[in-house]
């Protein structure tokens, strides 16, 4: 039978680095059953029979955090053959606190003192032989980062596992505590099969650990009985039971350390010196701003957006030029050719309209691809002559002529399907359903990976913990964590990596709140839609775009304040205490591994939901009941599609918001596939009647137009982002809660905007206005009501 070795240790002790070094790529990453705590196991590189389980980082084996409960349940119930207790050598005293508890479990333990390279660099000396004698378990010096002592530590653990000597801790508590412990053991633990673990149980019962009382099935009578022992001990030592145990453990550690460790010098460490600057009260925010700007600049505006454009427009679009060589020339040529073509179109339109050619200047229409806005430019007769010459002397520019052109996957698939004369419906399913769906998943992966490199680096070097410290005071006010800033900043580019960046938030409640609110910030894909509404309904007013961002920030703040007063988010915000790990340069392999793990989990977990939803929306868009029966539709026939019927069925929901027609409803639904699709859908629907922008302006008032914008900005994000939410919540109930809340909130805000907005646009006071004002009142109540769950 194989041997299972558990890695246990404090957060930031280098456990994960050790785990990666020991297992290489033979890893399985998942979740502990039912909780969001990450589970990792792998096979030891040197011996496939040895399985290594990486327990979450913990400070003690008390039952108060999920990580602790998960770890100790694993250790007690699954009983791994050995435990490697990883200890940060630069911080022995605090790390040994956990050790004193681990050795009580009765499982063979070996201690790995990690970061020995740093210890030596500091000039400190640790007498491991003496330490080993004092604690009674083997102690091995290692450096996971420098691959030092790795074989030794596993060999020692395997040896300990094979010998399976019962571990008995050398440490004894104060006489009266030991007396109580002996009594507890005698009274409650004679039934426990494994004698070795009895001491641990008795200490936990002494600490009044309710989970252990439950586990052992103690009767109330027994609990009351031992309570007397505990109380008398507490009285004698004048402290509560838990503090007695904690204090004694630290005293014990103090005596061990005195005998085994020689510190070279006291004073500020390098990390302290860096902290003096980085978390300095004057410099902290400017430094933070610079770091954030860099992250944003690279992962959202430059490298990240190139990566997304390449993946979406290149790989899952028409195609791309290898290394972008020739792209610029090709685009210039296309622009020139199109311009010339449009001038000729304009000329012909003029001829059609007036029956004769223009003698002077004439107008020609130019359509913006992203926003479907049409602009009229003026051309002279000379321009027309030039354009004619250009068109006659040039071919339509072909991308192949400008560099090495690699066709996109859809193009490639389409030509393949054409070659085998594929049925139109099947072709549509494959291209617009499956390939587009896969594209929606994979198209964001490059940008996600770019962002994750940054996050992994910031986390591994130690800065992320400081971010929480610097921003916490501001975000705490509306129920979020200091670390929520990063998801929201990233969310301005794309909500998916934004949601996934919430992983760095430890506190479960803060993380859920962040996931629920991150997509309120307009992402890049919503910008064309915002521009379209601004252009079509508000005549290109400059205030529309900034108002979208203010709306997003407003939504986050109000949601934060309202939600933290609800039952599901109830409870005091955890007081802010966290360890700031020492600064150090992470290794490239660890950064890349972390990036890949997160990226892959997105593809796997979010991929399915995105793909399925895309296919469903494709089907409902392109199929419908026409006068000649149920059949596949052309793009322009969207009015007869199943989706349009659904839109007609659902549009009543939006009547109070002022856009209760099927067109707007259908556009909102296709927006779920990708928010930029709203523009495309509206262009198809309204384009049938002529000018898209003019038809759209006629369909909306100012109030209903802005309500439409607000609803689509705030409601459930695209399927890809919903997939990310599902992945990060890791809980179906919470996923639906998040989506439900977002849609509900969006609806209420839309209602307020339309109904109250009507007052200002001169439509007068109606019954609806009353509802609008009532909604504002509800919102205010949610914001200012007393928090009955707070102490």
């Amino acid at each position: 039978m194989g041997i299972r070795i558990a890695l246990a240790g404090n957060p930031n002790c280098g456990k994960t680095t050790l785990f990666n070094a020991l297992t290489g790529s033979n890893q399985f990453v998942g979740n502990w059953p039912g909780v969001t705590v990450e589970y990792k196991e792998g096979k030891y590189k040197g011996d496939k029979e040895v399985k290594i389980v990486d327990l979450p980082g913990i400070y003690s084996l008390s039952p108060y955090t999920l990580e602790e409960v998960v770890s100790r349940n694993y250790l007690i119930d699954e009983k791994p053959e050995a435990i490697i207790n990883v200890i940060d050598g630069t911080n022995l005293e605090r790390n040994l606190y956990l050790t004193t508890q681990i050795v009580e479990l009765g499982i063979p333990v070996v201690i790995a003192i990690n970061m020995m390279d740093v210890v030596e660099k500091n000039g400190d000396k640790i007498n491991t032989k003496k330490l080993s004698e004092e604690i009674g378990v083997p102690v091995i010096e290692i450096s996971a980062l420098k691959n030092r002592g790795l074989k030794d530590i596993v060999d020692a653990a395997v040896k300990a596992a094979k010998e399976a000597l019962p571990q008995s801790p050398k440490h004894r508590f104060d006489g009266s505590v030991e007396h109580a412990l002996a009594h507890i053991e005698e009274l409650c633990l004679h039934n426990v099969e494994d004698e070795n673990v009895q001491r641990w149980y008795s200490i936990k019962l002494f600490e009044r650990d309710e989970k252990i009382q439950e586990k052992l099935g103690l009767s109330e009578e027994t609990v009351n009985h031992i309570e007397k022992d505990i109380a008398s001990c507490e009285k004698e030592l004048d402290d509560d039971a838990e503090s007695i145990i904690t204090g004694e453990r630290y005293n014990y550690i103090g005596t061990i350390i005195d005998g085994c460790v020689k510190k070279a010098k006291k004073g500020l460490t390098t990390s302290d010196k860096i902290d003096r600057i980085v978390t300095n009260r004057f410099l902290a925010l400017p430094i933070f701003a610079v770091v954030m700007f860099l992250v944003y600049f690279v992962s959202v505006t430059t490298v990240g957006s190139w990566a997304t454009d390449w993946a979406n427009d290149g790989v899952f679009g028409d195609g791309w030029h290898l290394f972008a060589i020739g792209s610029a020339d090709y685009n210039d040529a296309v622009d020139k050719y199109n311009e010339a073509d449009l001038i000729i179109v304009g000329y012909d339109l003029y001829c059609e309209g007036n029956g004769e050619g223009p003698t002077g200047d004439f107008k020609y229409p130019v359509e913006d691809e992203e926003t479907a806005a049409v602009e009229y430019r003026t051309a002279t007769h000379e321009d027309y002559v030039e354009a004619m010459e250009y068109i006659n002397s040039h071919e339509v520019p072909e991308p192949e002529d400008y560099g090495v052109w690699i066709p996109g996957i859809p193009v490639f698939v389409e030509s393949g399907l054409d070659a085998i004369k594929c049925n139109d419906a099947v072709k549509g399913l494959i291209l617009d359903g499956i390939v587009a769906g896969v594209g929606a998943v994979l198209g964001f992966v490059p940008q996600i990976l770019v962002l994750f490199i940054f996050l992994a680096f910031l986390e591994a070097c130690g800065y992320m913990a400081r971010v929480a410290f610097i921003m916490d005071r501001i975000f705490r006010k509306f129920g979020l964590s200091g670390k929520s800033f990063i998801p929201m900043l990233i969310g301005t580019g794309c909500g998916i990596p934004g949601i996934m960046a919430s992983r760095t938030i430890e506190n479960d409640r803060d993380r859920k709140m962040t996931i629920m609110t991150t997509t309120f910030i307009p992402c890049g894909a919503k910008l064309p839609f915002i521009a379209m509404v601004a252009g079509a309904i508000f005549g290109g007013a400059a205030w529309v775009a900034p108002s979208a961002y203010f709306l997003g920030i407003f939504a986050i703040i109000t949601s934060g304040i309202m939600l933290k007063k609800t039952k599901i988010f109830a409870g005091d915000p955890a007081p802010f205490v966290m360890e700031l790990p020492a600064y150090h340069w992470p290794t490239l392999s660890n950064v890349l591994r972390s990036m890949w793990e997160r990226g892959w989990s997105f593809i796997k977990k979010a991929g399915t939901i995105i793909l399925l939803s895309t296919i469903v929306v494709w089907f409902t868009t392109f199929f419908g009941f026409t006068p000649d029966g149920f059949r596949m539709l052309e793009e322009e026939e969207i009015g007869m599609s199943i989706l349009a019927s659904i839109g007609k069925g659902l549009s009543w929901i939006f009547i109070p918001l002022g856009f209760g027609d099927w067109e707007a409803t259908v556009a909102s639904i296709t927006g779920l596939v990708a928010k930029e699709n709203i523009v495309g859908t509206l262009a198809i629907i309204y384009g049938a009647a002529g000018d898209v922008y003019e038809t759209m302006r006629a369909a909306f008032t100012d109030a209903s137009g802005f309500a439409f914008l607000a609803f689509n900005l705030l409601c459930a994000p695209c399927f890809a982002a919903m997939g990310a939410i599902k992945r990060e919540m890791n809980n179906t109930k919470w996923f639906w809660r998040a989506i439900g809340y977002q849609c509900g909130f969006a609806w209420v805000i839309g209602l307020i905007i339309y109904q109250v907005g009507k007052l200002f646009t001169g439509e007068g006071f109606t019954v609806g206005t009353v509802f609008g004002i009532a909604a504002i009142a509800c919102l205010l109540y949610g914001l200012f009501r007393k928090d009955k769950y707070a102490n």
Binding site: T90, N91, D272, A284, L580
Partner: protein
């Protein structure tokens, strides 16, 4: 006795007492804050402290720092 918030930066202090709720107290103890233990304030922003305790740096907010007495 005074709360740690009032301690000057860079000087080592001994913790005399820890106040606050059971849960908070326990977490502080796990992180190394125990009566009789030594701590040094490394940095302060608006009452929030970075404290050096048992060779590690721990960030605590103002509320909590007021419960650590020296």
């Amino acid at each position: 006795m005074m709360p740690l918030v009032m301690a000057p930066q860079g000087e080592e202090q001994m913790i005399k007492r820890i106040g606050g709720s059971e849960e908070v107290k326990r977490h502080l103890q796990e992180l190394g804050f125990v009566p009789g233990g030594h701590v040094t304030v490394v940095n302060e922003i608006g009452g929030n402290l970075i404290i050096n305790v048992k060779e590690s740096r721990v960030a605590v907010d103002k509320q909590l720092a007021q419960k650590l007495f020296i």
